[in-house]
Symmetry: C2
Subunit: 213 residues, 2 copies
DNA sequence: CCCGTAAATGACCTGACGGTTATATACGAG
DNA sequence: CTCGTATATAACCGTCAGGTCATTTACGGG
């Protein structure tokens, strides 16, 4: 040990973020129950006791992780979809590429897997995730679809179900990458998947020839 | 306690199935780590010790649960998709309704959730699930798509990605029902979801007018 | 420079749960 | 009927990990 180097530092501002970051890593890899506080602590460069200076319980840390991951910019996608001024195909292409960007930036996939896996043990978290992420996403998409239908740019149908059709394959791609790629399955190339799926959906949602409204 | 009624019965044939069934319930609800052997045992109407007459460890039971759930008839769907004799739209409609039937019969959704949630802790199970279910499914679907492309019934594109587009929303529906419906979210009506998604995909995959091969 | 206290530690406590085993019992074979 | 053994039990054990706390240490204010 370096002489003069303190054994630890007082950094009450930075700690919580570091802990949540480390916890995300461990939870994502092990799931809630199998994640050990000692591992989270050591990954955060801190002792186990220190965790309890900032969080009440293990569950509390888990909640913080999910909430933290929820915060990021669903907003942008939502705002984009509210734009009614561009033709639907362009809108969809834009939205998809933004979603793709969000996925590649913020470990959304890992958190989704967590929430899905632990939903029965943490119903309240499933609810938060639903209300703050999935539901908003779907509502924004449905809204855009409904307006596009009224403008005659999209064939008539239940907008919510159409939204499922759009979002589903993306979820599949994310799950795939989190679940099967690590065990040797061929990767799901998110980029080309999203692009081709987008084109397929644009064609599939195009109004039928000869049906106006 | 009823006089003359034996305290327990010897039923070495029936036990394993009952245990696996009970274990599926508990694992589906709690996840692997949070599931207690005592609960599985009592749900199976048996003492904890009896579990160890039929299985080596908790993991062993988990494996049995997943394998059991894998067994059922992916085969039928696979066989159906190999049929090259009917037009693609009809084939797709048939396949989707069969998939729907399988989902509603065999607690496929619960198991999928389990596998996804525990994939990091049981990579070998993720591999089994991938090899026995997902990969076969996707391969069968890709094959059908590729042949349909050659017949000019489906627009050209990467068949594997098209298969993702077809399967994704179904996965989303299943996950939704397992994850969000129990916490008060509006249900994802699988039946109409599948039907409308099918029609959307048929339209989206139809060959472009004026592009022959 | 020194002290007060917030920040951090790590040894410890404890309950829970996976797994074991000595004992009891059902029931088929002879 | 009876006896052997496969089947089942329930009390038990050991370990592991979440949570606690007495003690130590960094470091800013006077």
């Amino acid at each position: 040990m370096q002489a003069g180097a303190p054994r630890w530092r007082r950094r009450s501002q930075a700690r919580p973020g570091e802990i949540v970051q480390a916890a995300l890593d461990v939870f994502a890899e092990k799931g809630f129950a199998a994640a050990k506080l000692d591992e989270i602590a050591s990954k955060a460069g801190v002792s186990k006791g220190a965790l309890y200076l900032y969080f009440e319980t293990k569950e509390d840390i888990f909640r913080a992780v999910v909430r933290e991951a929820v915060v990021p910019n669903i907003d942008r996608v939502e705002a984009l979809l509210a734009e009614a001024t561009i033709p639907f195909p362009d809108l969809l292409r834009l939205a998809l590429s933004q979603i793709e960007a969000v996925i590649e930036t913020s470990r959304l996939g890992a958190v989704a897997k967590l929430v899905i896996g632990e939903s029965r043990n943490f119903p309240e978290l499933a609810r938060v995730w639903h209300d703050e992420v999935v539901s908003r996403m779907l509502a924004a998409m449905s809204g855009a679809l409904e307006r596009a239908q009224m403008r005659g740019e999209v064939r008539l149908g239940e907008p919510r179900l159409q939204a499922f059709s759009i979002v589903g394959p993306i979820l599949l791609g994310v799950i795939w990458q989190e679940t099967f790629t690590p065990v040797g399955a061929p990767p799901a190339p998110l980029k080309s998947l999203v692009r081709q799926h987008g084109e397929t959906m644009i064609a599939g949602l195009a109004p039928r020839a000869g049906v106006s409204s």
